[in-house]
Subunit: 269 residues, 2 copies
């Protein structure tokens, strides 16, 4: 059992909370049982090490430790103070994994004929980015695309707020926004900017064709040239006196409207 919170290995894990270290090593940290369980289950080949306190190792035997052992992963028992030293949070809940960045590409995503995508550009709040990834997963989207000007989706706060969804669908990062929009269009995927200034109301948008929602910055939205480059600018209707929805709420409503159209199922009302 690893008991020294000042060991080199502990420092190396802790250093992954810094973006330059993640970029240099191509690794990131997943904290807590939900995230680690989903990583082991859906991205086992990318999991380098699982660290668990003795208590957590016992509690999560069935859904984390046993599957991890079966997959031949490295599992290390660590003292609670070692786990705390590895983690950026006060309560890492006894288990943590170091995972290789998957590095999906736009080409790979497009090859699979996606029908529903979401593209984040200049999204800066970790909680928002994570929530959108979770919403995309729940709505059955085929992938999440992220421009280079957005928050790092492998930052601890983003990883946490995806609640495991980061391992459920491809997340392509570092994209250049305009090239990506052109690329999507060239492959028959319609691009819809979600923006309060849109003239098309969400219920009137064509959501049966393959399409990609484009979501901008929390405060200032999308730039004029991005709006112009999209096939349509769509707004979520506001029925009361609220000025707007926040980014995560708007993305969730748009993605669920797409999911409903895609399932072709019963319509609301």
């Amino acid at each position: 059992m690893l008991t020294n919170p000042r060991a080199d290995r502990v420092r190396a894990v802790r250093a992954l909370s810094k973006r330059p270290v993640r970029e240099r090593t191509g690794r990131f940290v997943v904290e807590g049982p939900q995230g680690v369980r989903e990583a082991v289950r859906y991205a086992g080949a990318s999991v380098r090490d699982v660290y668990a306190t003795p208590e957590a190792a016992e509690r999560y035997t069935a859904d984390i430790l046993a599957p991890a052992r079966e997959a031949g992963l490295w599992i290390h028992e660590v003292a609670p103070e070692v786990l705390a030293a590895m983690s950026g949070t006060d309560a890492p809940q006894g288990v943590l994994a170091v995972v290789d960045v998957a590095g999906a590409t736009l080409e790979e995503v497009i090859t699979r004929c996606p029908r529903l995508l979401v593209l984040l550009t200049h999204v800066r709040d970790p909680g928002n980015a994570g929530t959108v990834i979770r919403a995309a997963d729940a709505a059955g989207a085929d992938a999440v695309l992220v421009s280079g000007a957005s928050v790092d989706v492998h930052a601890p706060k983003v990883v946490r707020s995806t609640a495991g969804s980061l391992f459920h669908l491809p997340v392509v990062t570092g994209l250049e926004i305009r090239a990506t929009l052109r690329h999507l269009s060239a492959h028959g995927i319609r691009t819809y900017a979600a923006d309060g200034a849109g003239t098309t109301l969400l219920p009137d948008a064509d959501l049966r064709s393959p399409h990609c929602w484009v979501m901008g910055n929390e405060a200032w939205g999308l730039t004029g040239d991005v709006l112009a480059a999209c096939d349509d600018v769509v707004r979520v209707p506001i029925h009361g006196r609220a000025e707007s929805l926040n980014l995560a709420m708007a993305a969730t409503v748009c993605l669920y409207a797409s999911a409903e159209a895609r399932s072709g199922g019963p319509t609301y009302g």
Copy 2:
């Protein structure tokens, strides 16, 4: 101009960050231009004092100070350090108001024949509570009902995350959950528990009749007796591998499905 951050009046405003003080005085604090503007616009009779730094007073003359003056409200110029001392946040953005709790009652809400309501019980996270109030407003709900076991909706973090919506629709607090469910049923308002274990899928729920969404705790949801007391238990479909949506996302999706059904408008797709 008020320049002493240690003045009694400053301490009295700061003390409103504590729930017992809010309950004793029946007042709460709204920080930042968006919240103060909406309070002045939609709840002017409840606004006791507006505090603004000279810079903010100039910047927000048209949309806050002039309307406040016209409504005969008390406006006080304060030094930036006084505003900082009044506020719980690092950046109160130059303007703050002390407002009387409106104190809407369930009877008043029911008298107006509401068609869409949301009831929060045991919701503990301020950001979630505020976001649900904002979503309810955006979806055109008639009121938000809050059980006594939930976070105080007049806490600074809740007020902030409503983005002004707290002043746009009645928010009834301190309700007893089971008595409220019975009361709604007696007035022909169907009660729908939003829960991942529901057997009715959202697109199949009857959203044309007057109804109330019932949302439970972030971690453990609704208790068995509340689920049993509701007319139906409805779940948002999960199309991908995500386990669930978080509370605010689920509430937003449910409320928007209701709004669509209510507007009877074009269907998704």
